[in-house]
Amino acid sequence: MKTPLSHPREPLRLIIPAAIGAGFLLLPLLALLVRTPWASLSTLITEGPATEALWLSLRTAGMATILSLFMGVPLAWLIARSRLPWMNALRTLVTLPMVLPPVVGGVALLSLLGRRGLLGQYLDAWFGITIPFSTMAVILAQAFVATPFLVLAVEGHWRSHHHRLEDIASTLGAQRWYAFRTITLPTALPAIGAGAALAFARSLGEFGATITFAGNFPGTTRTMPIAIYLAMESDPDLAIALSFMLMALCVAVLILLRSHWVSNLGAK
C-alpha cells in the first residue's frame, strides 16, 4: 500500500483525541438506542401523554420558528447592513440568549411578562391577560432562546456576501425596499432556511426557560423535554422512548439542514 504524496497520513497524535471526541459525542446516543425498548416502543409513543407532548412540541416549535423569522430576519438585516451606530454591540447583545443558561431566560421573561412583571402587571390589570402558564408562554420562551440562532445564521450570510448586486440595483434606480425584496432576501434564502431549521431544533429542545416561564401542564405547556424529565421519575422506559422520538426528529432536521433542499431553496 502506498500513500500518495499529496495526501500524507493523518498524525496519530491527532487521530487518537479525535477518536475519543467522536466516541464521547456519539456513544451516549448509541447507548440510548441500545436501551430503547423497541418491543413496546409503538405502544409507548402512541399512548396519550407521549403524542400529546409531541404534538404540543411540534406546534409550539413551529410557531416559535415563524415568530423568529418575523423578528429575526429584519434584525439580522439591520445588524448586517445598517450604518447606524452601536450595531456591533447590538449583535453581541441579541446573541446573549444563546450563551445564557435557558433558566435565566425564563426568569428574565417572568420579570418582564409575569403577573408582577414590568409589563405583565399592566397586561393583567388593564386587559386581564396573563401570559405565564399558557401555550403562548411556551412559544415565547422557545422564540427567546431560538431567535439568536436565526439572527446569527442570516446576519453572517449578509455580512460575508458583498453588496454588489444591491449596489447595481440602486444605481439603476431601485428603491431600497424593492432591492431588499427582489435581491437581498432571495439570495439569503438558503441561510434563512438553515437558520430557521436551527431555530426549530433549538425550540424543540427548550426546557429551562419553558418550565420556569410557562410551567408544566399536560396539553398546554408540557412539551417533550419536560415530559421526558418527568417520565424519568415515574417511567424510565417512557422517558427513553420519548428521548428516542426527539432524537429522531432532530436527526431529521439535521438531514434537512445538510441536504440540498435547504441549499437549493435560493436557486428556485
Partner: protein, 248 residues
C-alpha cells in the same frame, strides 16, 4: 510547547476531579443526605447543630422531590441517608435501605399571595377555571396528597401548572404568579407574611408522613446513624416542631 502545557493542565484537572476526597485522613467524613425539599429548613438547622457537636462530620444535602431522590438512588447516586415526604416513595426502594423510621407528619392547606387576588375562600374555588391554580406534580408526595384531598372532597381542580416539588410550588405563590396552591403547612409557615394560609376543613383529611432511612450501600454507617439518631432525638424533633411539623 503550549500544546504540552495544555495536556499537562488537562491531566492535572482530570486528576483533581477524579481523586477521592476520603483518602485525606484529616478531612471530615462527608455524609450525603437526600431529603424532600420541604425538609430544607429544619434539616439545615439539624446539620449545623450536629456539625458543631461532632467535629469530623460534614453533612451534605441534596434536596428535591422524594420521587426524584428515590429515582436518583435507584440509579446509583451516592447517598448515605434518605428522608422522604411519603411512605410510598420510601417503601418503593425498601430493597436499598435499612428499616425506615417515621419521624414527622405534615398537612397540606390552600395558600394564596397576601392580597388574595383570586379571592380564594374554599377548596371549591380551586375548580374555577378563571383562577390561576398550581399543585405539586402528581408524581411527587405533595402532589399525590393534593390529589387525594380533591378526590375525597369530590372537587376537580382546574390546574394551570404543576410544580416539580413542594418548594417549586411554594415559589409560585411567593412570586404571586398563581392565585392559589395547595402547600405544606410547614412551607406556608416558613414563608412568613409573603404567603397566606386559607383554613378549610378538608385539609386535615390527608396526612403526609415523613420517613428516614440509611442506605444499605453506604460505607459511612456510623456517621449516617449519627444523623438519623439526631433527627429522631428529642432535640431533632423539637427543631422539626419549630418548623411546623406535627410530631406524635
Amino acid at each position: 510547547m503550549s500544546l504540552r502545557l495544555l495536556f499537562i493542565s488537562l491531566a492535572l484537572v482530570m486528576a483533581t476531579a477524579c481523586s477521592n476526597p476520603e483518602t485525606d485522613s484529616n478531612a471530615p467524613t462527608e455524609v450525603v443526605v437526600f431529603a424532600a425539599s420541604s425538609l430544607q429548613g429544619p434539616f439545615e438547622v439539624i446539620a449545623d447543630e450536629l456539625q458543631e457537636s461532632r467535629v469530623g462530620v460534614d453533612i451534605v444535602f441534596n434536596f428535591g422531590s422524594s420521587a426524584t431522590l428515590v429515582e436518583q438512588i435507584r440509579s446509583g447516586a451516592p447517598a448515605d441517608v434518605i428522608a422522604t415526604a411519603s411512605e410510598q416513595t420510601m417503601f418503593s426502594i425498601n430493597n436499598l435501605t435499612h428499616a425506615p423510621a417515621r419521624f414527622a407528619d405534615n398537612y397540606l392547606a390552600p395558600a394564596v399571595p397576601p392580597a388574595n387576588p383570586g379571592g380564594i375562600t374554599s377548596l371549591s374555588d380551586f375548580a374555577d377555571p378563571d383562577k390561576k391554580i398550581a399543585l405539586c406534580a402528581p408524581e411527587v408526595p405533595c402532589g399525590s396528597a393534593a390529589a387525594e384531598i380533591f378526590s375525597r372532597a369530590d372537587i376537580t381542580p382546574s390546574v394551570d401548572t404543576y410544580g416539580a416539588d413542594a418548594t417549586a410550588t411554594t415559589t409560585l405563590v411567593l412570586s404571586g404568579e398563581v392565585d392559589a396552591a395547595l402547600l405544606y403547612e410547614t412551607d406556608i409557615l416558613n414563608a412568613g407574611p409573603a404567603v397566606r394560609k386559607i383554613d378549610v376543613p378538608q385539609s386535615r383529611d390527608v396526612v403526609a408522613t415523613y420517613f428516614i432511612a440509611e442506605i444499605r450501600e453506604s460505607h459511612k454507617t456510623a456517621e449516617a446513624q449519627l444523623f438519623v439518631d439526631f433527627v429522631l432525638s428529642e432535640r431533632g424533633q423539637e427543631i422539626l416542631r419549630d418548623y411546623g411539623f406535627v410530631i406524635e
